[in-house]
Amino acid sequence: MTITETRRAPVIAQATDASPSSDTLRKSWEGPSGWRGWLSTVDHKEIGKRYLLTAFGFLLIGGLEAAVMRAQLATPNGHLLSAEEYAQLFTMHGVTMIFLYALPVLSGFSNYLWPLLLGSRDMAFPRLNAFSYWVFLFAGIFLYASFVMGKGPDDGWFNYVPYASREFNPGPNIDVYALGMVLLGVSTTVGSINFIVTVIRMRAPGMSINRIPILVWGTLTASVGNLFAVPAVSLAFLMLWMDRQLGTHFFDVANGGQPLLWQHLFWMFGHPWVYAIVLPAMGIVSDGLPTFCRRPLVGYTAVALATVTTMVLGFGVWAHHMFATGLPVMSLSYFSASSMVIVIPSAVAVFAWIATIWTGRPVFTTAFLYFSSFVLLFVIGGVSGFMTASVPLDMQLTHTYFVVAHLHYVLIGINVFPVIGGIYFWFPKITGRLMNEKLGKWSFWIMFVGFNVGFFPMHILGLAGMPRRIYTYPSGLGWGPWNMAATVGSYVFAIGIAMFLLNVWISLRRGIAAGPNPWNAPSLEWSTSSPPPVYNFAVIPNVASRYPLWEGYMDDEGRDRSTIHEGLLLDQGRETIGTTALDAEPAVILKMPDDTYTPLVLALTLTLAFCGLLALAWWAVGVGVVLTLLAAMVWLWPERKLSQIER
């Protein structure tokens, strides 16, 4: 019987990627090469890149769907599409952008960056991380499976009953959506748990809770929000599926069911979700903008607290999606006021960004253009949200293109612009090459102009009374010219996106070598090579301030300095350090798992069970569940070498 080591004082050493100890680390952390490695990897950087690529793939698919719809709507009495085709397109466009692009792309950034930002060697649960990605991918394919056969979800992304019930929608369309969303919820939930535990346990020594980057605050807040929000929607979709296939009556009016129950459950999830898909993107700006303004973010504490406050308030505003459903005046007033209060934390962030620009020295990079223009788009999307928060006014605005304009300013302005800015910012870290700045600036201006030309007129269309989700409209209502502008603008925007993708393609091949820190940025990810080695850090850094790589530029008499190249070596296999929750005192040596196929297998068997449910093939459900349990057992089988070591 071997004796496992239970206590060990870890070695503190000086090392860089060129040191001999790094070879040992590389050997421990590198997985198998080729397709085996591709399928079994648990490296957060690989998983992060996959999330980013997959999410961008979905962004393109959702964009193509939008382009077809805009062609239909460009002129009155368009006849390119039938009503049913249009319904599937607007539903899949919403589902794709909101569920398969907006959160996964941010999960991609966070997965890739978190351990690098936090000075760790991986996420807390690397295998869970891989599992989360595979389930996301399979859920995305699942959601598209019926669309390619012309039977896609067709009741809008919020899927109101009773139109979504079997009586009015007998095909597989809604079943695919319901089960796909429950499956996707599994991915979101395990991903959120992983983020939460990682931030609590995996920070470098000295990185106390008031020193973590705002992106981490954003993703942490979004993850906690998701843990509370996702159960509502998973439950709602499960109930809907049972209504449709097993004869329950949760939403069945004829048998005492309640259509409004669906709306409450959906929006209890839906509104927090909106914050989950913007707060991490706001974090990208809060971390990126200071780098290009050459100063720390103004009001770090205020911005961090505003991030959390937004999410807390976000759980008390769901009924503002339901102002016209006949709720009592008293509750309308409450939800109206609570929705308006969200202006306050938003204003904190906006004025923090503006102050950072005013008191800084802006450097006109492409990323800076995206981040600073984001502030304006954030405000435009914010004030239209403020208008829709006003109950009596919303009774006019709701269900019109004004809401379409609002949500696109929020989702494109507050998600897509920061994301693309974030790609320009971190591309050199991820690939080791800089993106082309000249092409970048051109693509920025084309995107910015196209976006505003395309989406601003939708406000006017809303005020001119155009309802959402109409597949055609007669002439004579004054909507034609604005719709034409929206179509032309959105196509220009698409050209901007295409130029961005072209830039990625060119820069991957011919970009200038970046070096570790091309922007002279302050956070830990810029202290390691570009691209980072498989083990991230040759030693675990010690952090003494919020901006460890800027300490040399700041007056800091008598303050401790961060040490980047001297720290815990932890080279006996896959290891990293676990620290305490608030102060990040070193507490335990964490033994990290090897590459494994189990996450992939578990995701496949789980998906098999869901396919069985879709086909009502109970044998397949049974096989899927049994295999899932077996795979989980293999996964959880105790391994001596993974027993954690006290320090």
Partner: protein, 338 residues
């Protein structure tokens, strides 16, 4: 100051004559359920535009101020030596925003209270029952024989609030006449109540606003506001039985109607009493066909009855497969239903 006044004057001008915005626009409204909301809307819109302009100017100012003031340094250097400063921006910005916000909130709550009840007790109630993809309208009366039903065209007297009880026979719709007031969702299993009043005679267009299936885009309604005298005349006409067909063609048309249409449609004073589709007792008194889709002309009527599925695909009205003689007779009969 002058350009700002010009902008406000321009906006006021735009607000005063809003016909540019089209028949579904609510930037100008014509009744007390709409006025306070429209004022609130313009108020919040002007606040919003000012906020965007101020933020845009601050951003541009900040970008060029910082760049001009601090060029020439080593680009790697920072603009500051300490992680401090700038907090006044947050205090002042958030403070001012909060003041505006509280004002807007009070205004909102006030308008919410004002429009939740009509200025005086409504004279009567219209029962609105929405179905895929049309509107049934019942004007109740204490005497059942004076109750009548019509479709897709609501008549109301000018200057009087009218109460609407809305419900659905199938999926969720939304009842919306933007020039008179905000929406009320139409939800099966519950009866929602709203009210509207028109202060000027006229035709006000409405549409279903919640996605409800294939013909969601083709589910309009009209509100006709007329003088109280004209309204009473219309009511009396609606209560009357349909006239007996006079010519042989009309009589044949009525037989075709009985055999092909009566299972779904009613004609007051005849055996036709179907309740699935619109009541046709006074079809020719209405301005449109197929829920606001076509002007109600004999040609459109023939086209619509002959091929409903090509005119409004997905409609619950099947293609009837009538011979052209039968179709002509049917149209002739329907044209007697004034």
């Amino acid at each position: 100051m002058r350009p700002r006044r010009l902008v406000i004057f321009g906006l006021a001008l735009v607000a005063a004559d809003a016909s540019w915005a089209g028949p579904m626009s609510y930037v100008q409204t014509f009744g007390p359920a709409g006025y306070p909301v429209t004022r609130l809307g313009w108020g919040l819109a002007i606040i919003s535009i000012c906020v965007c302009v101020i933020i845009a100017l601050l951003l541009l100012g900040g970008i060029f101020h910082g760049r001009v003031a601090r060029t020439g340094n080593d680009s790697r250097q920072l603009a500051v030596r300490r992680d401090a400063g700038g907090l006044m921006w947050i205090y002042i910005g958030v403070g001012l925003s909060s003041l505006v916000l509280i004002g807007a909130m009070i205004w909102t709550l006030e308008v919410t209270a004002v429009i939740s009840n009509p200025p005086r007790t409504p004279a009567f109630t219209v029962q609105v029952s929405a179905s895929q993809w049309w509107w049934a309208l019942r004007y109740d009366n204490e005497q059942p024989s004076r109750t009548f039903t019509t479709a897709n065209e609501i008549h109301i007297p000018v200057g009087q609030p009218v109460r609407f009880e809305v419900t659905s026979t199938d999926v969720i719709h939304s009842f919306w006449v933007p020039k008179l007031g905000g929406k009320m969702d139409v939800i099966p299993g519950q009866t929602n109540v709203t009210w509207l009043q028109a202060d000027q005679p006229g035709v006000y267009r409405g549409e279903c606003a919640v996605f409800c299936g294939a013909d969601h885009a083709r589910m309009a309604l009209l509100v006709i506001a007329q003088s109280p005298a004209n309204f009473r005349a219309w009511e009396d006409a609606q209560r009357s039985d349909a006239p007996q067909p006079a010519t042989p063609e009309e009589q044949q048309g009525q037989m075709v109607f009985q055999s092909h249409c009566a299972a779904c449609h009613s004609v007051r004073g005849t055996d036709a009493s179907g309740a699935v589709g619109p009541d046709l007792s006074h079809l020719m008194s209405r301005r449109t066909l197929a829920a606001g889709l076509l002007p109600d002309t004999p040609g459109n009527l023939a086209a619509w009855i002959g091929h409903p599925q090509s005119i409004k695909p997905g409609s619950r009205m099947p293609d009837p497969a009538l011979s052209s003689a039968h179709l002509a007779a049917l149209v002739a009969y329907l044209q007697t239903l004034h």
